[in-house]
Amino acid sequence: MAEPVPMVDYLILDERPHLRATLCSDCGATYFDRRNACAHCGGTSFSHQDVPTQGTLISFSIVHHAAPGIPTPFVAGIVDCDGTAARGNIINTPPDPEHVTLGMKVRLATYSLGEKAGVEAIGYGFEPA
C-alpha cells in the first residue's frame, strides 16, 4: 500500500508525528500556510521548525452547528505549543464543558481520515495529555 498522506502539509508523518511551522529566517515569525513573504518583517527567506507536540488549551468552542456533512458537535481549540499557537480539534474526549476546560494539558494525536484510491489520509487533533 502507498504511503499515507497528511491532511495538511504542515503535519509531518514520521515516527513521532508532529506539526512543522514555517519560520521567517530574518525575524523568526512562524506560520503554517504557504508564504509569499513575512507579514511581520517582509523577509522572503524561510526555514522550518518542528512544533512541540505537547501544549495548553488556551481557547475553545464546542461547535453544534456547522455546514451539512460536518459531524457535530466537535471541539475547535487553540493550543499553545510552548510558544507557538496551533489550531486543532480536541479529540478522544467527550465534547462537553465538563471534559474540555481552559488551561488543560493536551498532546498531538493522529487519526485516519479513511482511504481513497488505495491511499490513507491521516488527520490530527489534540487529546487530553
Binding site: 495538511v8 503554517f32 500556510d33 468552542s61 481552559l102 481513497k116 491511499v119
Partner: protein, 399 residues
Amino acid sequence: MAENAWILGIHMTKFGKRPTDDVVDLASEAALGALKDAGVGMKDIQVLAAGNLRGGGGLAQALQKQIGQTGIPAFNVANACATGATALRVAIMAIKAGEADFGLAVGAEKLSGVGLLTGNTARAEGDEWTPAGRFGAVTGLDGRTGTETMPGVFAQVGMEYGHKYGGASFELFAKIAEKNHAHSTLNPLAAYQKRFTLDQIMNDVMIAYPNTRSMCSANCDGGAAAVVVSEAKLRTLSLEQQRRAIKVSASVLTSDPWQAACQVLPDINTLTKAAANQAYEQAGLGPSDLDLVELHDCFATAELVHYDNLGLCETGGAADFCNSGATWRDGTTPVNVSGGLESKGHPISATGIANIWEVCHHLRGEAGDRQIEGARAGLAHVIGLGSACGVHILEKSAA
C-alpha cells in the same frame, strides 16, 4: 489643518424581515431618509460611498440610478462587517481632504434567513486525496482543524480572554445577551424587541458553546445612511441644521498589525485597541467622557473583550465590569442601548452606520423612550473579521 466633518443627516431603516424590499430599496430608503434629515438633496452631494456584501456588487451606481445620477465619484466598498463604517470613513476622508463639502455614505444588506455566514458549505470531496490551498489540505478543514463558523470563532475569542484573565463563565456571557435583549425592547426599529430571562438564554439552542442562539447576532434586512458635511459649509447652513448636526470628533479605521497569535485565531483585540487609542487622541476625550457606546456585539463573547479593548474597564477587568451592571442603560457606561447586533440585528453592511445613527439620536435628544439623558459624547465601534475596525467618536453640537 484638515477640515472637520459633521454628520448633517442620518437615517436607519426598520431592521427585520423585509421580504418585498431588495438591497436597492433598503439603500434608497436609508439614503433618502438621510438626505431629508440633512435638509439637502442628491444635487448637493459631491461624493458617494456605498457598501453591500451579498448583493453582487455595484450598490453605489444602482442606488444612483434610483435616487439621483449626478455624475459624482462613487465608491463601492467592502470590508466585511465594517463595510458601513468604511463607507462613512471614505466620505469623511473626502471632506477632510477638501475635495467635497457634502458626502453620502450608505450601507444595506439582505440577510434574513441566511443562516451561517461562513462555513455554510463543506468542500466537495473527490476520489483521490489531492493537496490544495495554502495548507496543502487533502480535505475540507472546517470541522477538522477548528471551525470557520463565526459563532465558533467569536466564542474562542471570548474564551481566550477568559483563559487569560479569568471570570468569563457561560453565565457571564449570557448576561451580556440578557442586557442587550432587554435594551431592544425600547427600540422600535430593532429586529427583535423581546426580553429574555437568563435561563431562557442559557437554555436556548446551543450554536457554538458558549454562544447559544440568543447570544448570536440576528440576521436581518436593513439599511442605514449618513450625510456628512464640512465644518465650513455647515456654518453657512440654517441654525436648525447647525443645531442638529453632530460633530465627528474622531474617525478611525485600522487593520491587523502583525501578531504571532493572529495567524491561527483572528485577533480582534489589537486593532480595536489601536483604533480606540487613535480615536481618543483625535477627539481629545477619554472613555470616561462617553455617555454611551455602541460596540460590535456580533456575539455575546465578543462584547466582553471590547469592554477592555475600548478602555471602558481596566485591562483584564471586563468580567468584573460586566458583573457590576455598568453597561446597562442606567449604568455608568451604557453599552448597546439600541439592543446591539444580538437584538437590534446585524444587516452586515448597514451596521457600521446604524450604530452611528443610534449615537447621533441620543446626542440630538431624539431617542424617545430609550434616550440617555444629557448625552453629549458617544462612541461607535465595528469589527469586520479579517480584520477591519472602525471607531467613530461623536459629540453634540455646542451651538
